[in-house]
């Protein structure tokens, strides 16, 4: 079970949280174009690697917050509050061979 760090409560087990989709999707003004609105409603990134995501400490303090998580390894590298500066995305470590051979 993952250990998720809530910026308000500290590290807590995964079952206390709910993932809430990609972070930093701003709700456009009502005057936006149909395409911009469709992007906001339906288009989300979902790549392999580090993503900024929203999580909610639903069985704890109830707060929404942001994290940087790797979608392949599940590793969380940062948690930050709504409105705080975005932490940098770490460089992707080169994937070595699954099995290294020595003599």
């Amino acid at each position: 079970m993952l250990l998720v760090t809530c910026p308000y409560c500290g590290p807590r087990p995964e079952i206390e949280f709910r993932q809430a989709g990609e972070a930093h999707i701003a709700r456009p003004a009502i005057t936006c174009s149909d395409d911009e609105w469709a992007d906001f409603l339906y288009m989300r990134d979902n790549h392999k690697g580090y993503m900024r995501e929203r999580w909610r400490h639903v069985a704890g303090c109830g707060r929404f917050f942001n994290v940087v998580r790797h979608t392949v390894t599940d590793k969380f590298v940062a948690s930050y509050k709504v409105g705080e500066e975005k932490p940098a995305i770490p460089a992707e470590a080169a994937a070595g061979p699954r099995v290294e051979i020595v003599r």
Binding site: M1, L3, A20, I30, C32, W37, F64, V82, G83, V99
Partner: protein, 1001 residues
Amino acid sequence: MSRFRTEAGGRVKRDKVLSFTFDGVAYQGLTGDTLASALLANGVHLVGRSFKYHRPRGIVTAGPEDQNALITLRRDAARETPNLRATQVELYQGLEAESQNRWPSLKFDVNAINGLASSLFVSGFYYKTFMWPRSFWKNVYEPRIRAAAGLGKAPAKADPDRYTSRYVHCDVLVIGAGPAGLTAALAAKEAGATVILADEGAEFGGSLLGDAVTTIEGKSTDAWMSDVVMNLAMSDKVRMLARTTAFGYFADNFVALVERVTDHLAAPSDALPRERLWQVRAKQVILATGALERPLVFPENDRPGIMMAEAGRSFLNRYGVKVGLRAVVFTATDSAYRAAIDLKQAGVDIQLIADLRARPPADVVDEALACGLTVRAASTLCGTQGGLRVSAAEVGEVNGDLTIGRKEVVDCDVVLMSGGWTPNINLHSQSRGRLIYNETTQNFLPGAPGYDNVSIGACKGTYDLSATMNEGYAAGEAAARASGRKGGMKKGFSSLGGLAMGGGHLGVVPHDRDPGRVKAFVDFQHDVTAKDIKLATREGFQSIEHVKRFTTTGMATDQGKTSNMNALAIAAKAIGKAIPEVGLTTFRLPYTPTTFGNFAGTARGDLFDPIRKTPMHDWAAAQGAPFENVALWKRAWYFPKAGEDMHAAVNRECKTVRTTVGMFDASTLGKIEVVGPDAAEFMNRMYVNPWTKLEIGRCRYGIMCRDDGFVYDDGVVGRMAADRFHVTTTTGGAPRVMNLMEDYLQTEFTDLKVFLTSTTEQWAVIAVQGPKAREVLAPLVEGIDIGKDAMPHMSVREGRICGVPTRLFRISFTGELGFEVNVPADYGQGVLDAIWREVREAGGCAYGTEAMHVLRAEKGYIIVGQDTDGTLTPDEAGVGWAVGKAKADFLGKRGLMRPDLTGPSRKQLIGLLTVDPKRVPDEGAQLVASAAPAKGSHALGHVTSAYWSENLGRSIAMAQLENGRARLGETVYITSLTGAAFPAVVADPIFYDKAGARIDV
């Protein structure tokens, strides 16, 4: 005492004799025995039959990796546990064990005929043979195969035992309590860390428990272990878990351990759980899981009596059992020499040591020769003889070109084999650690770990005892330091003796038999032989994952602990690739078979799934109401009187509400208190309706959309104060509505000062509906004028009822004069009792959710989630009037401006009146244009609600229909599961009291 039990020595208690039975035969063993050692002490090697060929099989190992010694343990009819490894079952007084997979008896098994027909049962046999005719698979082949297959039977009765679970944190979790694990735990403790030390065995010590000659720090292994274990046990920072298997390694150092609490007891106390699941979150994990000895793959290597050399040594030194009287040792490693010497000194006649290696290490050989043993280098076993027990081994010389030279048949009753040691990297691999393949030792070793863990000792390929203990101590100190403790100590251990574990051989040994016919087993339990694996590669399976699935090698209950490396080597050789190129199969949990009870824990019976009950649940149950599930809630469905079926009860309830009065438990409705200086503005943005001008004490029917413009939830909202709203939601929608509100409040509308509080369970809600509703409530209400003009429809008042504070709503979901009485949940039953007395006096009844549905459908009131499905706008759902068009913004405002939400293909909610008034359509039935539409024509919509209306004397239905409101009066056809589509006329969805006169009284 049996001639197989030594005179002295071992860890068994010789004065404590235990009786047990195996297949109904009575035997005796000693306290400290496992079932395996006790059987061997009685000369019993034959313990089971193999999966496919039903070949007789014996005990091969002394540990959890045994594939053959699977037995069923029986305590009573409900406590029957199949597939336990006899090597792990601790003996207790009165133990009853049965062998498996044989009929009629272990010694004579009719299915052993499979072995004679084994040329038919090659790998892939099932896939190839039972292809035709297709229909036979389900009814003929599969049931017969299932009846013949399987090892052991699951008990037919419910498990009467308890299984519990604990969560625990620690600095350092040490898995395995052999020399590496013990020293690691010792160092971590001395460094001030909180430590959990878990070992699957009954005693701590690991490989040292089977070692009689080694000394550590000048002490015997026994004395050294006792001192260390006592030292650890005295510390309140160390939790020592024996009989505890770490079976799963999860993300972020979350490790699952199962502790077998009572399985070893003759008469367990009811106060104890059978097993305890430990869910450990460790800052650092130390893996000290040791190494497993591999079998050698030679012809007929599966006869009872052929076992691992170190197992033979362990049975002798730990349990005081001689596994035979005349042994042949067949080895490719140094460690088997130690077994030969120990057994010889105990009086076992060692016929010879056949070493596969041309030049075994001289010091190892010399020591054996000095003990009077015969050693033959460059020797192999070309076969064995014997029926239910090995009786002879065919020893052959291996020439330089790997042909076989001189051969000799050597009598024996046991063959001790050793193909080398496989580091146990299961948990390291589960933790997503990388692997290293050492080409010299032909071992996979742990590489970079996936989480904060380290492998030490034999599981890392460190075999020297002093080096292992030094590595363990250093790892314990480092782990304590990494988890924030002081650390800094250093210590070196010295030992004499230990086990030389060099050498090894992978794959089939050289022999002179026909490789296409002879059986040299790789996976004993599943009867996978070397030729099966070669066949798989010939048939095109190149990946080890495919070879595994085609042959089932490594899929036995041991998950390939002893077979994987040999299978891999044979496949690699046949394909012509290096071992790491062929790949290693994935290690998965559980490490050893784990009971379902352990996973289920206390989540069974009533605790299996949470349910929610209203404060008046027991009252409704006492009235005989059946319940229906709505989300997690149990809701009273209808209240049948004697002799009534559901239909009759619902009809009566519907009539009674419209003629006198009915009472309904509406407590499950979601309730959210929206409070704060910006509460009205928050409501303006969350709901489509305008709220600013709603007067205090008045209510409004609210519609919530999401930003896509589709209806998401609905409910009546009362304004309690300028800054306070009492919001109700649908029963099932409450959590997601609350979540959506919080989401926007916290992340979009951060300018608003509002608190949201879920009050669903704080209020009990009793709806009183019908012409006599006011008459029923009048005598009970204090401080509220509930007269027609003083309290009009859609208003809310605070006051008291039966002396209890209430929020009294005048609202209606039936179309009749109606009130909803909200009282604090704890008073719900008391207030209900008082109202119920009045209702009965007025000639009314209680009604359930079914009547509620019919009554609301008669009025065309929608149920979000039934009549809407996330694709209807408020207008399409018939509630477009609620949208506050003048508002600058609200959830859905921009969405509703999308161009694709207009046009004749959009569906609208309408009513349907079937031409045959007695016919009630199926909910979900499609609407089509004609009774027999052309193939390929599309549905115009579907029925969302359909009921028999006793008040109207006919059926009524609501439906989503393309361009529906333009079709009023037209005929459409409703499909049926039982016959042709039938006609219905499109109608306004308000079927009863269109003017709403009955509400306004």
